[in-house]
Symmetry: C2
Subunit: 337 residues, 2 copies
DNA sequence: CTGAAAGCGCTTACAG
DNA sequence: CTGAAAGCGCTTACAG
C-alpha cells in the first residue's frame, strides 16, 4: 500500500481571490480564459497570484474539465536508445503544445499496454501514442476508450481507423542494400531480431525482394532478439563455410551485438564483413567501428505523432504518414576485396 | 494550447451505488477500506462494479486525499542506457508498493528539475527521486514543498536532510585500478566526462589517490561530456608520445566513445590499450570488444531508493546508503606486453 | 465584465 | 456497518 506524503499547501484559489478582492471565478478566468476578464482586473489578479506563489491545480482542472495535458508514450523498452531518442524528441514536441509526455514502459508484457491505456484514460489523457512491441490488435485497443485518439508508431492493418507514423522500411533497406552493392558485395545477409511489428516484417520482406531483384542467394538469420540476435547470427556466420561479405541488421542494437560477437570470433568489420544497422542512433557514431546505418528521422517522427493526434482531436481526420529514411555512412561498411 | 479529447465515460460511483442498492460512500469503502464494510456487502458491491467495468478515478481520489501514487523519477538523459536500466528497475520497485513511476527528463537544463518538482507537487506526488545532472543545491530543492520527501541518486552535502543512494565510487575505481595493476599496467589514465555530480568528482579523486598510492604518474582527460569525452581523450592519446597502456573511463558511454575513436586511429583494445568502463551496462556485453566495467547494482539502487522514500514517509528518518560495486571482467582489458 | 451556484468523482468525520 | 453531508480545487452556464 502506498504511503502518503504530507504536502505543503500552496495558496488556494479562494485565498488568492480574497487577496485580490474578487470572486474565485474571476481568478479562474484570469488564468484559463484571459480575455473573458477585463484587462485591468486580469493583471491585478495575476500579480496578486504570482506574489502569493499561486498556481492552478492541474488535478482539479482535469477533474472538472475531463481533460488533462498528460499524454502517454507507450514504449516496449527504454533501455534501447532508440526509444530514448524518440521519447526525448516527443517530449519536446508535446511541450510545444502544452502537453506533458508520460513515458510508459511495457517490457514484453502484452497486458501492460492495456493497463497503461486504461490508467491514462482515467487521467483524462487527451490521446495516447504507442510504439508497439509486437503487432497490435486494433480491436483490442478500442476497448480503452481512446477511440481514434491514438497514434501508432508502426504500420497497422489499414482497415483500422488509427493514425500512424512510420519510416519507409522498404526504402531504408534498399538504401542499405544499394550501398552494399555499390561497394561490390554480392553476398548480403539479413539479421532479423526485432519483435513482431509490421515494421519488422516489412524490413525482412524488403530484403527478400531485393535479393530476388539482384538474383542473389538469401541468407537470413532470425533467431533471438535485439543484440542477442546479432550475437546468434555472428555465431552462425563464424561457423559457416561460405560467409556473407555483408550483413544488414534489423536495427542498430542487433548490429552492435553482431559486430561484437564477430569481433570476439576474430572477424573484423568492415575488413572481413561489412555491417549496416537501422535506426541511426547517436550511439552508433561512437561504436567500434562507427556504424553505417539507415537513419530514421526520429525527431520528425516525434513531431508528426503529436501533430497527427491533434488533427484527430480537431477534425477526426486520421492519416498514415510514411517518412523517408536516409543512409548514414560511417565506418562499418567497406568494399569487398 | 492543448486540444481536449472527448473521453468515453466509464460508469460513475453513483451509478454503481444505485445498481448495487447502496450509497456511494459504501462503494468507496468497498474499494478503499475493504474491512470497513461487511463482507457480504463488499463482495456484492465489487461484483456489481466489476460487471459494470467500473474503476475509481485516481484523479478524484488524489484531489480529495491530497495524495497520489505518482512518483517522479527525474533523470538528465534517457538516451544513456544507464538511466534506462535505472528507470526500468525503479518502475518495478515502485509498482510493488502501488506507486506509478513517471519519468521526467531534464536534459542539461537546470530549470527543468524545478519545473518537474513543482508540477509533481501539484499532482500530490508523495515523494520524488532525483538522479541529478550536476551538483544539486539542496537549498534550492526545499522550495518545492517536498521537504525531506526526496531521494537523491548521488552523494550530497551531508549536512542536508535528504536521503541518498549511491555506489561506492572509491571502491569502484579501486576495483578497476587493481584489476589493471594485476594485469601489469603501470601507466593508467583516467577520462572524466560525466557532469558535475559528487559521484563524478569522487571517481576522479579516487583515481588520483590510487595514482599516488602506486607512485604512478597521473594522466587525466577532462574535456567533453559522455561519449564525446571519450573521443576527445582518444584524440589526445593518439597524439601523445608516451601513451598510457590502460584507461579508466568515468562511465560506460565514455568508454564506448574512447574505444571507438581509438579504433578509428588504429589503436586496438585491449591489445594496445586496456579500457575499463563504469556502470556495467548490458550494452557493454555487446560492444566491440565486450567492455570490462565496474558494475553498479542498478536494480538494487532502484529498490533502495523507493525504500528510503517510504522510510521518510513513515518515520521521517533519512539515510545515506552506499552500495558496493563489483567488477565485470569482459574483454576490453588484457595484460601489458 | 463579474459573481453565485452547481458539479467533476471521490473520501471521511459524523450520526444513527 | 451504512448513509447523508461537506468538501478537495477547480470551471462554466447562468444571472445581473
Amino acid at each position: 500500500m502506498p504511503l502518503e506524503g504530507k504536502p505543503v499547501s500552496s495558496p488556494s484559489i479562494d485565498e488568492v481571490a480574497a487577496a485580490a478582492g474578487v470572486h474565485k471565478s474571476t481568478v479562474s478566468r484570469a488564468f484559463s480564459r484571459p480575455d473573458a476578464v477585463k484587462r485591468q482586473t486580469r493583471e491585478h489578479v495575476l500579480a496578486v497570484a504570482s506574489k502569493m506563489g499561486y498556481s492552478m491545480s492541474p488535478l482539479a482542472q482535469a477533474l472538472r474539465t475531463k481533460s488533462s495535458t498528460l499524454v502517454p508514450l507507450i514504449v516496449p523498452d527504454i533501455t534501447n536508445p532508440f526509444f530514448g531518442e524518440l521519447a526525448t524528441a516527443m517530449t519536446a514536441a508535446a511541450e510545444a503544445f502544452g502537453y506533458h509526455l508520460v513515458l510508459c514502459v511495457t517490457g514484453d508484457d502484452g497486458r501492460a499496454t492495456a493497463d497503461y491505456l486504461q490508467a491514462m484514460q482515467a487521467m483524462y489523457a487527451p490521446f495516447a501514442i504507442i510504439a508497439p512491441f509486437g503487432r497490435l490488435d486494433p480491436a483490442d485497443l478500442q476497448q480503452f476508450g481512446f477511440g481514434k485518439r491514438l497514434v501508432v508508431i508502426d504500420r497497422i492493418e489499414s482497415a483500422h481507423e488509427i493514425s500512424t507514423v512510420t519510416v519507409d522500411s522498404n526504402r531504408g533497406i534498399r538504401l542499405a542494400f544499394d550501398h552494399l552493392v555499390g561497394l561490390g558485395h554480392t553476398s548480403i545477409a539479413y539479421v532479423s531480431g526485432i519483435a513482431g511489428t509490421h515494421t519488422a516484417s516489412d524490413r525482412r520482406e524488403a530484403y527478400s525482394a531485393l535479393i530476388d531483384e539482384h538474383a542473389m542467394t538469401p541468407v537470413m538469420f532470425e533467431r533471438g532478439m535485439g543484440a542477442g540476435a546479432g550475437e546468434r547470427a555472428a555465431e552462425e556466420i563464424l561457423r559457416s563455410a561460405a560467409r556473407p561479405t555483408a550483413v544488414i541488421a534489423a536495427n542498430d542494437l542487433v548490429a552492435f551485438g553482431l559486430i561484437s560477437a564477430l569481433g570476439a570470433g576474430g572477424v573484423r568489420v568492415p575488413q572481413d564483413i561489412s555491417v549496416v544497422g537501422f535506426d541511426g542512433l547517436e550511439l552508433g557514431a561512437r561504436s567500434n567501428p562507427p556504424l553505417t546505418s539507415v537513419q530514421q528521422p526520429i525527431a520528425e517522427m516525434g513531431r508528426i505523432a503529436i501533430d497527427l493526434a491533434r488533427r484527430v482531436l480537431e477534425s477526426g481526420e486520421i492519416d498514415h504518414v510514411v517518412l523517408e529514411p536516409s543512409l548514414l555512412i560511417r565506418s562499418s561498411t567497406g568494399p569487398t576485396r
